[in-house]
Symmetry: D2
Subunit: 227 residues, 4 copies
Amino acid sequence: MTALKKPLIAVNLKTYPEVSGARAVALAKVCESVSNETGVSIAVAPPMTDLAVVVQSVDIPVLSQHIDAVQQGSTTGHVPLGVVSACGGAGTLLNHSERRMRIADIASLVVDCRKAGLATIVCTNDIAVTRACAALEPDFVAIEPPELIGGDVSVTTANPAIVRDSVDAARGVSPGVGVLCGAGVKNGVDVAKASELGTDGVLLASGVVKAGDPRKALLDLASGFNE
Amino acid sequence: MTALKKPLIAVNLKTYPEVSGARAVALAKVCESVSNETGVSIAVAPPMTDLAVVVQSVDIPVLSQHIDAVQQGSTTGHVPLGVVSACGGAGTLLNHSERRMRIADIASLVVDCRKAGLATIVCTNDIAVTRACAALEPDFVAIEPPELIGGDVSVTTANPAIVRDSVDAARGVSPGVGVLCGAGVKNGVDVAKASELGTDGVLLASGVVKAGDPRKALLDLASGFNE
Amino acid sequence: MTALKKPLIAVNLKTYPEVSGARAVALAKVCESVSNETGVSIAVAPPMTDLAVVVQSVDIPVLSQHIDAVQQGSTTGHVPLGVVSACGGAGTLLNHSERRMRIADIASLVVDCRKAGLATIVCTNDIAVTRACAALEPDFVAIEPPELIGGDVSVTTANPAIVRDSVDAARGVSPGVGVLCGAGVKNGVDVAKASELGTDGVLLASGVVKAGDPRKALLDLASGFNE
Amino acid sequence: MTALKKPLIAVNLKTYPEVSGARAVALAKVCESVSNETGVSIAVAPPMTDLAVVVQSVDIPVLSQHIDAVQQGSTTGHVPLGVVSACGGAGTLLNHSERRMRIADIASLVVDCRKAGLATIVCTNDIAVTRACAALEPDFVAIEPPELIGGDVSVTTANPAIVRDSVDAARGVSPGVGVLCGAGVKNGVDVAKASELGTDGVLLASGVVKAGDPRKALLDLASGFNE
């Protein structure tokens, strides 16, 4: 297992056709290569079915996209914490916008992941939910201010107060929590701006997966931490 | 609609056979009578199917046991906010232990209920979840410390620090939030103790519904606020 | 409780603002009046929160829009069978397209409703699901052929084979099952055509609820059974 | 991809600690070895996170324990059909008792899996659900008669009519459907009896996973097909 160092670029491969099967491993290797080259910590979250094979293929932190709040054992078709841990996962996303979770489940998983040595990144959608999830004291919250989702809006072109307010909300409740910017980051300039506003890195998906040249996209993003 | 005054006794009728059909109205009338007699605010949450008929039968606040985070309209078999509001509900329980909810849904419903003039009581199960839900700024959190659930344990016989810590956790994040004690309260002595520990009232179910004499049980509970 | 006689017009009020609160009772009374006047069986499914009050206000069959596959008792915020039965419901919709259910839950509720004297109307979306749900032997399946949903398509203008094939699929597996046409019925001419194609009636919502004059719409629909 | 030949032994690894991580591959190799040695078709369903790595390690059919009825793409934390297909899965369990599904989702996945060349095994819990799921025409239904679940009851000691009735129910609706016995099979004698009663094989979990010697257990089970 590899710890999640700050600043962090977390790449969510979702279930995009572009990264299914062998291509999940291929993209994870690009992430590993860029991380080694730039010294920037990069973690990758492959499709659930590819978690073990990606862990075995690269030496960067591999995240689960989700964990089910069920016990290991007689839980066919679910992904309990023990399974992620046993196959070498470094941590997990929780409460992604495409997989919203119940508050009691997030809370118990944050506690249980910590005991098991797994890092937690809890996704949030507005200031109130950011405060609530930060109160659970995960390793990171990944904020997705609605004003920054989709289109061409980025942290550099939009009102920077949006990101700063989210960071303040999270740290006001839980001073030590890491904060990732989960929307509005397209390139190294955005990463630099997000860092300046107090975040510890970024969580992104299509910006890397659907880039014509994912390696180039990652190198550009990583460059933002050095500006 | 009637506001939820503090201190408050909130009685959850669940779906107990003892209160199904006409008996839901009968028990709501007992609550109304005791409230009028003692001056203590009592709210009642009947089975979902009986919400409208209970609202029409009594002049105390009637709560929904749950609201679904769906829009009013083409949502057969769900209970959206607009339906509760239209039939005269005063507010709602959210995230009851028997109906856990996703954090994003609790957050949006707290906001939307406030706009619609409905009070919110968000149930929580431990200190971390209490902090998280308090951060959403509902009208009340109803704390159910696991140490106080079931059996004969009550706030007066158990370590009082449990309740005080929960109250502090909620108010530390959201100073104005009401706090109901949702477990460990059996009688007026417990109510008095819970009040002394900083709560604004109680949320209970079987203690009233399954009492041999619900009127007597309610009178006893209400007496705790005057001690 | 009133049995569901064939042919049947089942009116689903959904959670439309047009029928919230007191207006649910008002529309149920229109249904009752038209049923008495025309001799056609009309059942109404009000918002969940209004079930008891509508039952008390009219003398036609009142249906629940859904039943949760949970036990009566400690099931806050759910609607178990016992609650629907206790407040006088005549039956229930199951598996509505806006509230899809698990097959094991539909199966057990069909059995339990029969024991409790409640009629079941299971909604289906294509030939395969119609066969599957008919195999559970509910009182009715309500077929919604995708080709007939939305727009101006009706059973009279579309290829009639669609409805006939659905009827055959249902009866091929369960000869005695009632079949309601749940899409493509706008007026009495459509009702007559649907009857001719082998259905036992219709399940509809907006065609009545959002009609400028619901009474007139119902009278027109009912006239289709006499043609 | 490897087709599911009859008779079939399908081994569900669930999320048992005994088969987590590298041990999932190890047990899959035992299955492969016994299959090669005996000529009996054996398929294995590893934990979701290990699907790709198991596919790459053995040359027997590997099944997903579940597929989510969501589209491939922006569906973080889910397992859509396309992901199972891309990593080389041969088919999937659907509606396992620990992961019950909505009827409309089972229906659409049976159709979509067939188009994608994936085999489907739909689990059922009683005669009615067996008929319903057989009506969807999956490749197999796996019947779990409640009378045979748990304890020491087996098809050879219990009333054989139970299994025969389930087989008749499935084939009565869908003559070509394969039928697996999903409960009450402990050893080769049970397998022989289940075959005699008309099944095409077995689906089992703990009987292999928790056996002191899984290889020996599989050899014994496989021997039942030759008696």
